[in-house]
Amino acid sequence: MGDMIRVEGLYHSYSHNEDYSVRDVSFSVAEGEIFGFLGPSGAGKSTTQNIITGLLPMQKGKVEVAGHDMRKPSLKLYNEIGVSFEQPNLYAKMTAVENLAFFASLFDVPCRGPMELIRMVGLESSAKKKCGEFSKGMRQRINFARSMINDPKLWFLDEPTSGLDPAIAADIKDIIKKRNQEGVTVFLTTHSMSIADDLCDRVAFIVDGEIKLIDSPKELKLRFGKSFVDVEYVLDGQIRRQSLSTEDEEDKRALKDIIDHCQIRRMHTEEATLEQIFIKVTGKELIGDETAAEHTA
């Protein structure tokens, strides 16, 4: 199978100088793969995705998407890709059906029916309501549905489960998995490591505009993973929580110290998460991640 996305030596500066938001980024995404692009806010995820989808002009480097050179992207490319943005961007004065029907009319390929997609994201009872009356979660689901309207073979998803309740988020993840099994390549941008862990074949960690590491979650856990003890204790009248490695000597000493001198409220072991690995590799925390907990390296 060939590559759906190939990025080589990509640089981008909003101020058109040496102050790069994205610096020497290189990676490729194989056909049929779910590729996670992970990093905290401001790491360069959206800039990279905007360049790959043709929303930002290319400055330096080489990008190929579904065989199209992104230096001069052809409009035909957009018949082959679907993009779901983090912030819902729909016509507030149009209904969900009208929104999807309008966007379907802009493609040159056969499109899926608006109602079929609306049913898929569980909003059939609100299909004829104006999107301006929707909650953020509902708008997010219509946004997600819209990105499937042209049955794309390459699917860009930016925080697809952000702001959704767990049940709906699980449904969305199931849809992504199903579409991937049907052969769709997925480029997933997120700062939620749990989603990346659930869905991605490979992940790239990006921090300060640079890719620090690319590998599969399984391999990363083998390479960097350690067991942790999650301990909640009382010190000086305050409740504290720490995750301490059962392998690291310093952590082991700290754990013994807590047990000897503090009142333990709760303590259990846990396997290393992708997030812990991210912190270990990049030295940065993923601010805003709903799965994030306090860690002490």
């Binding site: 905007n50 989808t53 043709g54 929303l55 930002l56 002009p57 409009l75 035909k76 490319l77 957009y78 018949n79 890709i81 993009v83 943005f85 912030q87 961007n89 729909l90 016509y91 507030a92 004065k93 149009m94 009208e98 309008f102 966007f103 009319s105 802009l106 493609f107 040159d108 819209r146």
Partner: protein, 368 residues
């Protein structure tokens, strides 16, 4: 064909937008003002008071001679300072003259109403005039009065009769006073407002990031801008016809009028689209839009000032919109209107692709 669905979308949004109904409401208000508040012809005749201070028989003869062309007098009663003053009203082409029967009434009326008065008396062989001016008359008017008094009136009449008058145009068609407001009203409400409305719509689309969603479809930015232009132009045409049809009736050339509204709107929408590409914030965009609107409104405002000749105003493109609207309303110089339409369309054709390129190349509407 992606243009038709895009236009349909814009019309759907338009029909659900308060802007559209506001514009229609403003058009209806303008129409009501034109039809029911503004007279068809302004009455520019001045009011004057006069008293002929001569013995009764001589005064009557003098009054008859002076107002021979004005037709019979109308007996009226003027009210002043709680008193009723009997007067005879003579209506000429130039003024309304109230002839009263004593100096005190003349003086009181001039003092209280702000109009000028003339007292005619005959101290010697020739009649003498005494003018009651207000003090705010121009130097030119005072010189004019002095000239009349110091010259032989018959000589002046002879000189006026001998003056050769050459008409540049035989029976020129003019707009009635009520209709003469239309070029300004239509150029502002129907054409220039296109800048404001377009900038408003596009900055709103940037704010809600729908432009970003459109950018990842196989539809060109030009299609988006053309659809916007179609919606704004349709509103302009509706507004234009609502105001024009009841005021002009069948007297205007509606084909030319619609053409100048369409071409003018194309030009102004292109300006609005280009301006909107520079701003993410609606407040900042409107500051720039209003500054440009004020400049473009100058030719329309100057066209309302009779006798003002300002050649520099021809540098402002909206001058040609105002003049073309005027020519269309008078159904006069179709060639001039068509030439202006071509110029405005050419301006739009330069600006529109420039805007489309800015939205695409600069990644506008992508941020956030």
């Amino acid at each position: 064909m992606k243009l038709l669905p895009s236009i349909r979308r814009e019309l759907t949004l338009l029909s659900r937008s308060i802007y559209f109904y506001s514009e229609i409401a403003v058009a209806v208000i303008c129409l009501v003002v034109l039809l029911f508040v503004m007279p068809e012809h302004f009455d520019a005749r001045a009011t004057e008071y006069a008293f002929i201070d001569l013995p009764r028989e001589q005064a009557e003869a003098m009054e008859e001679a002076l107002f021979a062309d004005a037709g019979p007098a109308e007996g009226v009663t003027l009210k002043n300072r709680g008193h009723e003053i009997p007067a005879r009203l003579y209506t000429t082409d130039m003024k309304y003259v109230y002839v009263v029967d004593n100096r005190a009434s003349l003086s009181a009326l001039c003092e209280d109403t702000g109009h000028i008065g003339t007292l005619l008396h005959e101290p010697g062989a020739d009649p003498a005039y005494e003018y009651f001016l207000q003090g705010n008359e121009t130097a030119r008017y005072k010189e004019y009065v002095t000239l009349l008094l110091s010259s032989d009136f018959n000589e002046l009449l002879d000189a006026a009769d001998k003056q050769e008058v050459r008409a540049l145009e035989e029976n020129p068609r003019k707009l009635a006073d009520r209709q003469s407001v239309l070029p300004l009203m239509l150029s502002v409400n129907c054409v220039l407002m296109g800048i404001l409305v377009t900038a408003g719509y596009i900055v709103e689309d940037k704010k809600t990031k729908v432009i970003k969603a459109l950018r990842v479809t196989p539809s060109r930015m030009g299609v988006y801008l053309t659809a916007k232009m179609s919606a704004v132009t349709l509103t302009s045409l509706a507004v234009g016809l609502i105001i024009t049809a009841p005021v002009m009736g069948g007297g205007a050339n509606y084909f030319l009028l619609c053409l100048i509204i369409v071409c003018g709107s194309f030009f102004t929408v292109s300006i609005g689209a280009l301006l909107a590409s520079f701003f993410e914030d609606i407040g900042k965009a409107f500051t720039a839009v209003f500054a440009i609107l004020v400049v473009l409104m100058i030719p329309g405002i100057l066209s309302m000032i009779a006798g003002l000749n300002a050649p520099w105003v021809k540098v402002i493109p909206s001058y040609y919109i105002v003049e073309s609207v005027k020519e269309s309303l008078l159904d006069r110089d179709a060639g001039y209107v068509l030439l202006c339409c071509a110029g405005l369309a050419a301006g739009g054709l330069i600006l529109m692709p420039l805007s489309a390129r800015r939205y695409k190349a600069a990644g506008i509407g992508v941020g956030g």
